[in-house]
Amino acid sequence: MSLAQTDKYYLPQPSIWPIVGSVALLLMAVGGTMTMREIDGGLWILLAGLAIMFYMMFGWFGEVIRDSEAGRFNKQVDGSYRWSMSWFIFSEVMFFAAFFGALFYTRVLSVPWLAEGDTMQQLWPAFQATWPTAGPGLTADGFQFTPMGAWGIPAINTLLLLSSGVTITWAHWGLKKDKRGQLILGLAMTVALGLVFLGLQIYEYIHAYEELGLTLGAGVYGATFFMLTGFHGFHVLVGTTMLVVMLGRSIAGHFTAEHHFAFEAVSWYWHFVDVVWVILFVLVYWLI
């Protein structure tokens, strides 16, 4: 390839990382299945897969970071990254939409159906459509749980995430004005808020399991509760990890006031996770 062309486009060389990632996925899927089916050795295969996956991410992202720092990413590449990050976040929105859709469907449609007309008379006598519910069968068997209240930990967590949205924006301002101290401090605070959030959520889960009887198996309320908050929590974890990387790179002197899309991408992602939480707080915790 010629010099003229690199002015406009960036074309990476052949890379082993994708195929490493594929091997990792294969091991993870096989190991995961074996673990779920309680076949011996599955866990080890799963862990091996995960380890290879992390190795791949280090290697691949490291390569990208080196290329970026070497100044190989021009405006054109920057544009590609912007488009792709936007579409990626859109795909995440749709992933959460599936679970919010399930919450909507059960709350508004199927739970009331179970408690009316022939369905109730013939199959689930005396079932009442309330929310939260563990459903007619479990309730009839005497299953009980206490729903998670909104105004304890969840409210605190809302505050934490909202503040973290502020701190990361503040860090971004710092970066744009080339104030490295503000950048690093802002990032560090965001990471800290994310970690506290995660800690509180773990505490909340333990509380749910041990004291409230609220488990994954607690009917459709338990299922939607843990899937929505769980996937959200996982996204916070991923976001925090990415923030840590950004923090490290900031300390190492990466990014310039004009050229720092990696940072922006992480902050977009973080804001997205934030917005999901607010919706979740309202629909899952508050309006029950």
């Binding site: 390839m1 010629s2 003229a4 062309q5 406009k8 486009y9 074309l11 060389q13 052949p14 890379s15 990382w17 994708p18 195929i19 594929s22 996925l25 294969l26 899927a29 995961g32 299945t33 779920m36 089916r37 390569e63 080196r66 290329d67 054109q76 544009g79 590609s80 488009w83 792709s84 579409w87 990626f88 859109f90 795909s91 749709m94 992933f95 939409a97 599936a98 859709g101 399930a102 469907y105 059960t106 199927s110 159906w113 199959l123 519910t133 563990a134 459903g135 007619p136 069968g137 479990l138 488990t215 994954l216 198996g217 009917g219 459709v220 338990g222 299922a223 939607t224 843990f226 899937m227």
Partner: protein
Amino acid sequence: MSDAAHAHDDHGHHAHPTGIMRWLTTTNHKDIGSMYLWFALIMLFAAGSMALLIRAELFQPGMQLTHPDFFNQLTTMHGLIMIFGVIMPAFSGFANWQVPLMLGAPDMAFPRMNNWAFWILPVAGLLLMSSFLLPGGAVAGGWTMYPPLFIQGGISYDLTILAVHIMGLSSIMGSINIITTILNMRAPGLTLMKMPLFVWTWLITAYLLIATMPVLAGAVTMLLTDRNFGTHFFNAAGGGDPVMFQHIFWFFAHPEVYILILPAFGIVSQIIPTFARKPLFGYASMVYATASIAILSFIVWAHHMFTVGMPAAAQLFFMFSTMLIAVPTGVKVFNWVATMWKGSMTFETPMLFAIAFVCLFTIGGFSGLVLAIAPVDIQLHDTYYVVAHFHYVLVSGALFSIFAGIYYWLPKWTGHMYDETLGKWHFWLSVIGMNIVFFPMHFLGLAGMPRRIPDYALQFTEFNQIATVGAFIFGFSQLIFLWVVLKAIRGGEKATSKVWEGAEGLEWTVPSPAPYHTFETAPVVK
């Protein structure tokens, strides 16, 4: 890997990995496009062989070759692989080869991710296919994966769910790549409304994929947790609803069927003008029609669920919205006919397949319309009428467009003309065979033969026998196709850059075969 990064600095022509490593590590869109296409072809033979086994079992009443459970495995795997392993990868292959060439771009926006999006597909394929060998056999719950049946099964069901996740990941990465390439890598002067229609259809397809694949991922994740982690999403005893899965699944799967046809529309819209030697009629309305189909596709999903017992208002809504799709699709059909009108037509193999596409896809569209009429669908749902419908749109639709596209671009890719005589043989045997297999299925469905059954009542015998004969004609004529492709790769009459007299567009300005690197300096489009 730092070596590679280093090697890059001197901008020379460096030693590329050779042998298998070339393919494992490649970041070249042409290599990746070829791999997608080969993968699809291999999977076509695998899933096609399953179809032939299905047809052989159904040749006459009584159980002959399979057991009921194995039959269900064949049906399920045939459907899953044909959709996720044949048509989708084949279209991705076309996108990889053609989108950069048509846009005047040197490669895709993210060449490494491009490689990964391909190389996780064989992983998913392996997970799916290997389950045939596991205790309990492969999945047998239908490609639609409806619970509670899908909750009951053994280990292969978990493997399938994870395989679906992986295929979804592949599609999402592939689509982000394609969208970004189209939006950000066009040659100077190539505005959106000047793009070839194939690029437009893929832009919209990629959007559909990004919007719906994550929804499928969500749905199968709920299946996974219902199976293994005690949740009750699809169990009424816990307040869930099995039908909820169907809503989420079809919210994905209806747009999915347009994912399987929009690129086909694109390919055909490239081919017909070439051989009619006349510009595509109504380019702008083609673009708008494609977009309308995509938008409408999000509000029609429950036409697959007319028999679940929805309220009348919901049935009416989904019936009307589904019928509306006939309008933009009709616009497309009329535009193709108008493109041929007063052209100067020749009938090389790509054109033959394209014409067959227009005609036979429309038959499939009409049977779709019949199914859209809720009361009629309530009679025909889950019968062979539906099987006839979707094979008309998928086989003589999607698959024929793929054949057409391969014949059309093969000279560009290999530098050799394919054997026209063999191509014509392939075409005629396929068209005739295809109709013999699938036309009688309309009658079977009307007469009341359910789908997904390994054995049937005596009155269905004749049409089933005809269909089976057709299936073997159609199936074995695909070996001709394989032969034509191999022959063209190995040699043959040299192709010019333009290949076809009436061809237009950037891809026809580069030599045949297209060099490994094209458009290193962007062409300017006026």
